[in-house]
Symmetry: C2
Subunit: 217 residues, 2 copies
């Protein structure tokens, strides 16, 4: 598939590399068309990796992954363009972390508890089919689930559109994930994003991000 | 030990019964000294179970468990009395759930994200040693961890006082818990209370509360 990625940080680069390895065509989008981190990624990605602006990436992709930082995500999605995103699947990977009071972070108040970044993005681009996914773990684990406990842990997702979730589910499974829990409509993003504070606290306690949540029944 | 319990609902009754079974003396506290639910519990609990007001329970206990509903917890703790709680361990089991917008609940805004009920209780009674514990699961599981996956799942706790946490840890272990994760000081209560929204969502999805979180490394 053709996939656009918003955000050239570690999350975007890691997901982009995995998607290229799986045979997808990936355009990495950033504020400027010539972003240096994206250029470095393109060089390593080979023929199926290209770069451009946020709008270039969203126009290119059949599916778009939002991998920007939480405090810039709404602006990035707006720059990607409602027209370019209309009718398409927008996978929201980002977290509205607020580091203004130091570590560990809290969530941006207006995007927590009774709202979430996933919902805010769906509200900003009503024509897109937003699927919240991948936000509850470290990016290395996102694309390599078996690195922890042979993959016996859980992947959470949610979104309003069932067929969009089914399509994203196939991509998640192609990464090696076996246990995926669908939390229902996009308001489930609140509950997924509220996992971050304990995730960060555990990361600080353990001294590494190589762990994940599992729901035990 | 002598233990006071604030709140005569299912959580307080279930914890109280387990504590009596383990040989502790338990006084169940409520708004009134003759609360009917507490009277019923006392009848079943036998000689080691008594009842009284919130203040009676906190004066009686060496350790006090707050099992009141989140929206009444601060008032209940105030009624229990700073003098009665001074220097004692106060185990806060409650969750600041806000059902005013229906199911699933959100958290009470002033007690979420950058604050928590655990912290607010610690701030309300500075002389108490508040330990947040037991709030991330159903009450039947609290006292019977092996009912799910032979007990192979996690119990979270936090608090400012190390010796208080060590004492509470012994009680938790006496219930059969084997994997207890100490999240540090009382600000960890934010992260524990923010687990509730996904817990409720999962409970609605599964149709029962017989599950728990496990951190897989």
């Amino acid at each position: 598939m053709k996939i656009g990625i918003l955000g050239t940080g570690m999350v975007g680069a890691t997901l982009g590399t995995k998607l290229v390895q799986l045979g997808h065509q990936v355009k990495m989008g950033s504020r400027t068309a010539t972003n240096e981190k994206a250029a470095k990624w393109v060089k390593e990605a080979g023929a199926n990796g290209t770069q451009g602006t946020f709008a270039d990436a969203s126009a290119f992709g059949e599916i778009i992954f939002n991998c920007t930082k939480g405090d810039g995500a709404i602006d990035a999605v707006k720059a990607a363009g409602a027209d370019n995103l209309n009718g398409k699947i927008l996978v929201d990977v980002s977290n509205a972390l607020d580091f203004s009071k130091g570590m560990p972070p809290s969530l941006i108040p207006s995007l927590s508890n009774t709202n979430s970044l996933g919902e805010e993005i769906q509200r900003t681009i009503p024509g897109a089919k937003v699927v919240k996914a991948f936000n509850t773990m470290n990016c290395v684990l996102m694309v390599n689930p078996t690195m922890v406990a042979s993959g016996a842990h859980d992947f959470f997702m949610c979104g309003n559109d069932e067929s969009a979730k089914a399509t994203v589910l196939e991509i998640i499974k192609s990464f090696g994930w076996e246990s995926i829990i669908d939390l229902g409509d996009i308001t489930g993003a609140r509950t997924m994003e509220m996992l971050l504070p304990i995730w960060v606290r555990l990361m600080m306690k353990f001294g590494n991000p190589n762990f994940n949540f599992k729901i035990v029944k």
